[in-house]
Amino acid sequence: MTAISESGTPRAVAARPPSGRFSSLETREALTGLVFISPWIVGFVLFSALPMLASLVLSFTDFDPRAVDEIHFIGLDNYVQMLHDPILIQSLGVTVRFALLVVPTTLAFALGVALLVNSTLLAGRNVFRTLFYMPMQIPIVASTVIWIGVLNAGNGWLNQGLAVFGIQGPDWLNSTTWVHPALVLMGLWGIGNMMLIFLAGLQSVPTELYDAARVDGAGRWGTFRNVTLPLISPVLFYNLIIALIATFQYFTQAYVISNGRGDPARETLFFNLNLFREGFAFFHMGYASALAWLLFVIVLALTFVLFRTAGSWVYSGADR
């Protein structure tokens, strides 16, 4: 390939061919990279993107997996049905009420534990860090089954412990009042990941800021409120988003403790459990697909709102 210079002398231009040329080294390297990661790309397209697209299409149908030949396009009927579905409203209410309880509780507890295992006053900090993280290694179903035993009204460890102090514990998992606090308790057991992220945030706070605060006469609470909290606010923000999304996707524990029904009195019929029942128990796969997209929109909207508020409380750099 040649070109004519202003002086009219031909010169080589092979060093930088026009973009999009197949023969360039960069293109070939990029292509090689793409080929190497193509299993992931194909996997993503086949097992994530296409199913998502399929669920969007299905949400406009009355698809019943038992009668594939009888599928009909029903327009927005599934979405209209949501407006008149009392079970959906109930499941949304359950999820929101639970989120209001579990998200701040787990955030506070995880931060508290992270502060504890970050403290120089604690002997054997690494041991405690390991111990607090260890429950994360236990499958959720197994840990839930263990907790069902712990929370049993009659012979559960928790109520037996309360009985020592003369307190008659409630029927945790069969009471509409106590089942959410019981699930929060189960959730506190699994704060290992959140604690670890908080711990990383705490360790990234420059020590000279603590020294300066001490020189200025700040106490422990003042230091925490004015130094630690602002500096770990990005980590707090991240954990808040993750916890919120996880709460709206809450499923396994509720499924296990209620055999998939949402007992007692649908107080554990979380959004995702209701979605599962519609799709796999009642075979309303089209409606379940619509519910999945509603969940997607809700989570997206919540995340968007949080990001919009982040500017007012999340520390984003030295300019603040």
Binding site: R28, L31, T32, F36, P39, V42, R66, P264, R266
Partner: protein, 471 residues
């Protein structure tokens, strides 16, 4: 692409990508699969899907494999492919396979589970007639149990009547006579009715201080032993109503109207009072405490005097593994219900053919073969639907439970009083109506102080809405 092919690195990448994709996309072979079609293409492969009921336990699979192997060896034109799925996943797995890759035969599966696939099951009647399969050895009532909307969707293989298991040690300790073993027999001069059972059960219900439930000093907050349970059915209101009220249906004769018959109202009230007023049946929390959590095998705890359960419970009772608390037990007949009849609600297992099969005749040939296999019924722990096979079944149980001598005559008697219509029979909008019935049962089992009759009225309205939706 030529340029890519010429570069060794890129060639390696393409090769690796293809290999990874092939590995990822390769379907997992059935661990118990049998050979597929022959090269000539004349061999028909029939997939038998196991896991929806019993049949998926590791000790059962070798027998199923042996039965399949025997068939495959003796048939050149048909080969059975056995697919065994864990029970907890079987229903969902099948649901997801139905649109694209349904099996041919499903089962063993009970009456209730078959209702989920009622519309998708092949009517066997024409095949039974054309093949000349002899069903005369099976009670007509059992055959009729699988006739749904005029379609014969299964041939009974295994039956499980219900009766009362009782812990003889607890009766001995209380100085009480054992319950009757013969239908029509009295108990201590009283007719054997549910009222008599209530009186007996309250005497057998004891608190931590040793007071029985008839005593004024009885403390319902510290019960140590219960007189009666109906384990595994506590939230199924149709089942509970049948046990304590006799046969009935939530669907009126017109097929679309929801109802709760009077005898069922009475039966459900009996059970609700047993849990919350008379305290001789355990609450959910109590059952989970003594019965190993969600498993709720309460009778095996040794703290239940009488338990209304089916024949299949022999699966899980002494001499089970471990250190059993129940070492001396027997079985008694069910009492007369408020409708004046004895009713032993019946569970039954069968095998059905999905109507999506491309080879219905061959599938029926396989089904007919499987339904005759006594070995299968034995390994499933079921009483054979074919009467001539029952002596061998009970002899096997006698050997297993020796030195205990169990009066299996009770079981045979109870088979003569099946619920008709079945408590698992079809309802419009079946899955949602069934779920609503269980939601209602869960409410009753966990909530004291309800006005039960008003709750039943409200529940009937809920059912009617679901029936209307499904019509």
């Amino acid at each position: 692409m030529d340029r890519i092919g010429r570069t060794p690195m890129q060639f390696t990448a393409v090769l690796a990508a293809i290999l990874l994709l092939l590995a990822a996309c390769q379907s997992s072979a059935s661990p118990t699969g049998s050979p597929g079609a022959s090269a000539s293409g004349e061999v028909v492969e029939i997939e038998w899907y196991v896991g929806l009921g019993t049949g998926e336990n590791p000790e059962q699979i070798p027998t199923e494999e042996a039965v399949v192997a025997a068939f495959n060896e003796s048939h050149d034109n048909i080969q059975i492919e056995l697919t065994v799925v864990d029970n907890t996943d079987a229903q969902n797995t099948l649901n997801t396979r139905m649109p694209t890759d349904p099996p041919d035969i499903i089962g063993p599966i009970g009456i209730r589970a078959l209702q989920s696939f009622g519309d998708q099951l092949l009517d066997l009647a024409p095949y039974i007639e054309s093949s000349g399969v002899d069903l005369s050895a099976i009670d007509q009532a059992l055959i009729d149990a699988y006739n749904v909307d005029g379609k014969q969707i299964g041939i009974p293989m295994a039956v499980y009547p219900q009766f009362i298991y009782y812990n003889k040690s607890l009766f001995d300790e209380a100085g009480l006579a054992y319950p009757p073993h013969e239908v029509g027999e009295q108990y201590e001069g009283q007719d054997w009715t549910w009222d008599t059972v209530r009186d007996l059960a309250m005497l057998l219900t004891v608190d931590a201080n040793g007071n029985d439930a008839t005593s004024a000093a009885f403390d319902p907050n510290s019960i140590a032993q219960w007189g009666l349970d109906a384990q595994f059915t506590e939230i199924d209101t149709r089942a509970l109503s049948t046990i304590f009220g006799g046969s009935g249906s939530v669907v009126a004769d017109d097929g679309t109207t929801a109802q709760w018959p009077d005898n069922w109202r009475e039966g459900l009230q009996f059970y609700y009072d047993a849990v919350w007023t008379d305290h001789f049946a355990p609450t959910k929390a109590e059952a989970e405490a003594i019965g190993g959590g969600e498993d709720r095998n309460t009778f095996q705890s040794g703290l239940i005097a009488m338990d209304a359960v089916h024949q299949w419970y022999v699966c899980c009772i002494y001499p089970a593994e471990g250190d059993p608390a129940v070492t001396d037990w027997d079985i008694a007949v069910l009492p007369e219900g408020p409708d004046g009849t004895v009713t032993s609600k019946l569970h039954a297992d069968t095998i059905g053919i999905l109507d999506t099969t491309e080879h219905p005749e061959e599938a029926f040939e396989v089904l007919a073969y499987l339904s005759q296999q006594a070995d299968l019924v034995q390994v499933w722990g079921a009483m054979p639907a074919i009467a001539s096979q029952r002596d061998a079944f009970f002899a096997g149980l006698d050997e297993r439970f020796a030195p205990l001598v169990i009066d299996w005559n009770v079981s045979s008697q109870m088979l003569g009083f099946p619920d008709n219509p079945s408590h698992e029979a079809f309802m419009p909008n079946f899955e949602e109506a069934d779920s609503a019935n269980k939601d209602f049962g869960a409410l009753l089992w966990t909530t004291p102080g309800l006005d039960l009759q008003a709750e039943i009225d409200a529940h009937v309205e809920t059912l009617q809405a679901l029936f209307d939706e499904g019509s």
